[in-house]
Symmetry: C2
Subunit: 229 residues, 2 copies
């Protein structure tokens, strides 16, 4: 029997590639996605398609309403930045930062892992081609792992809970190449923060721009059909 | 203007006393309570009464459905232990442990603190008269604080996020004495894991037994009306 792993799945390039890596490492994958009041809620349709395409053991869709907390352009009325310079994105934390998001999502994934008897949690955090979010950095993930081992029954009983971030040091182009090697169909994924209701990407938000840059650098055609050219 | 603090408020003795301490320390208090699918959801009525009685700045009631994750007698169908020996409660982790609960609640409180511009989070965790939960121990809380300072914008921009657990080393009797000095009306609180729909305590679950022991040791009459003698 394979070991179980919980994989955070948003439906974008990074989490999908991470899921493919967990499966390649022979884990039985339990995917978890969050309906948190994100403006791009349609990404959850992509998450469902991807979970189904990989035949995961289970896909848990959890509601946690972060609009009640607010403080982000992704969960509130702040204006979404468009057409920013990709090279300067990580220089400061943008308004798309959702306070505590990965901390909250990892906490919920950790709880589910403990119930499943899984010791491994995979997250597609990346600190190279990213938007400068503090909760995507390796030092944060290491601290989360330490906390997880002190705050759970599994941890204090000697199981080592591990947070895996296999993409942390890869460029977006390297991530895409890795995913293609593992058979990922990126046409199933959605990266956009501002998609149409039927899941067509805007092409101008930070997430679309990082995605475009990734495909340009690989030299592989981007399968995304953008709403705005 | 006073500094702001976020206080986790369940409606029991510990969180209520913690709230009184935060107010005594001249914080503007923002209370947060969680509707997480707990069988004793009626505790949220106590939380509302208490928040109102202390005239807090705001009281956020957040939904996060932990029944979808399960694994606990408080959120599922496992049988609730009754009439256990109080002295032996902390020897092993009981079925009322909710995997990841304080990690999840602190994460959500942290997110709200960041949005409010608060650096201080209060939790009524206690490691003396407690049920042996791993996420109530000081080493866990210290690790959470470190993680919080690495995973938030506030933290990496130099604000020091602090987790306060002023009850951590107090006995239940000392907690009650402290609360009475600060004017807490414990008749407003509810500790029971298995109350009636109108909030009458069972008197036999771990939480009721720890509460009874606390009042016995102070020599102060317990204002609770128990459903079962």
């Amino acid at each position: 029997m394979n070991d179980k792993a919980v994989v955070l799945l948003s439906g974008g390039i990074d989490s999908t590639t991470t899921l493919a890596i967990a499966i390649d490492q022979r884990f039985d994958v339990f995917a978890i996605s969050f309906c948190y009041g994100q403006r791009h809620k349609v990404e959850l349709e992509a998450a469902k398609r991807i979970a189904a395409s990989f035949n995961v053991k289970s896909h848990l869709m959890l509601d946690v309403d972060l609009t009640a907390i607010g403080g982000s352009a992704l969960t509130g009325n702040l204006e979404l930045p468009k057409d920013r310079d990709v090279e300067k994105m990580s220089a400061e934390i943008p308004v798309t930062y959702v306070p505590g998001r990965n901390i909250i999502f990892l906490s919920l994934a950790l709880a589910w892992a403990e119930v499943l008897g899984a010791c491994d949690i995979f997250i597609g955090a990346n600190a190279v081609d990213f938007s400068g979010y503090p909760d995507c950095r390796p030092e944060f993930l290491a601290a989360f792992e330490e906390m997880a081992n002190l705050g759970t029954k599994a941890g204090i009983e000697g199981k080592k809970m591990s947070i895996h971030a296999p993409l942390i040091k890869l460029t977006k182009a390297q991530i895409i190449q890795k995913g293609l090697e593992l058979g990922v169909d990126y046409s199933l994924t959605l990266s956009c923060y501002d998609p149409t209701d039927n899941g067509r990407a805007c092409g101008k938000c930070d997430s679309c721009l990082l995605r475009k840059k990734g495909f340009q650098e690989t030299g592989i055609p981007d399968p995304t059909v953008y709403h705005k050219k």
